[in-house]
């Protein structure tokens, strides 16, 4: 694989081409400076944000995240993190669209409980229908369930994002076969979202054929987030190239790498 072939290996979300297959969150960093440096090192072109109440009368001069990660440089992906019901998720998306001047791309997550942060799949489906009908481009966080993943695609979600493991757990991909099945069934991009812990997890997701990986804590909670961001970038690229290259079949017994013929001993 040459560099030029690699550079044309783009993927498309909501009609826009991206080169980087690593999408990153902007939460949990020490400060804004570390956020910016880590995201720079990750090479990500799409970054998630959350929407929350504005500080009124306090920290008024604090820089806003959109002043340092500007919408002209990055595709901003507002999320519905913290939403446990359809109504709050839909309201959050509508506020985010207004906040970003009509930008229609959102990350939908409707959570089930605080202990697992697993998606509430029934409410996720309901919210996805409303948002798609309202003209949003919906990237949807869901369980690693191939049936639900397909249903979310059929509703009209532009990207389906099964979890690898619970949000912020760093456990890696718990059910590779389900992720593989979801990828094989899909006609829209599949991103692993949540649960990645280190660069090899990201590589595994890509080797399974995922179109990309979305992560936050795995970078932000590393001892050196900027270095981990760089490692994740490489893990994603290595996994993608390995997927495209097509791995050798695994075999139980050995196969000598040097010729048997011509030995003189």
């Amino acid at each position: 694989m040459t560099a030029s072939t690699t550079s044309s290996d783009n993927f498309t979300i909501a009609g826009r081409d991206y080169h980087s297959r690593l999408l990153v969150g902007t939460g949990k960093y020490k400060d804004m400076d570390e956020t910016v440096r880590a995201i720079e090192a990750s090479g990500a072109e799409i970054v998630t944000i959350a929407v929350r109440r504005t500080n009124i009368g306090q920290n008024a001069d604090e820089p806003n995240i959109l002043e340092v990660l500007t919408p002209d440089r990055y595709t901003i992906l507002p999320n519905t993190a913290g939403c446990y019901d359809v109504d709050s998720a839909v309201r959050t998306c509508r506020l985010a669209r207004e906040l970003l001047d009509g930008h229609k791309l959102v990350k939908l997550e409707v959570l089930g409980d605080q202990k697992t942060l697993f998606p509430d799949v029934l409410q996720t489906v309901e919210a996805a229908k409303i948002l798609v009908a309202d003209g949003f481009d919906v990237m949807v966080y869901t369980n690693d369930d191939p049936i639900v993943a397909k249903q979310l695609e059929e509703i009209g979600c532009c990207v389906v994002m099964p979890l690898a493991a619970p949000i912020g757990s760093g456990l890696g991909i718990r059910n590779r076969l389900n992720i593989l099945t979801i990828v094989e069934n899909a006609k829209v991009p599949i991103l692993v979202d949540a649960g990645v812990g280190t660069a090899s997890d990201a590589a595994v997701a890509m080797e399974l054929g995922c179109d990309g990986v979305l992560m936050n804590t795995a970078i932000a909670a590393a001892k050196d987030p900027v270095l981990m961001a760089s490692a994740m970038r490489k893990g994603i690229e290595a996994g993608r190239e390995a997927f495209l290259a097509g791995r050798m079949p695994a075999k139980r017994f050995a196969s000598a790498s040097s010729p048997i013929e011509g030995t003189f001993f």
């Binding site: 959350a50 929407v51 109440r53 009124i56 009368g57 207004e98 906040l99 936050n216």
Partner: protein
Amino acid sequence: MQIQLNGTPTTVPDATRMSGLIEHLGLTDRRLAVEVNRELVPRSRFAEHELKAGDAVEIIHAVGGG
């Protein structure tokens, strides 16, 4: 009159418009979005949107998140 501003009871002059509230809070030209009683109020309507006593106003902005 009293309104709920980001969950906090707040007194504002009667017939305050959204544009006036934003200005009073020093948030003019900030990138934000607003809803009143769970309904979005687009920026284009700030100047005409008049608040009523008891309105629940939410002013939101972007923060880091994953």
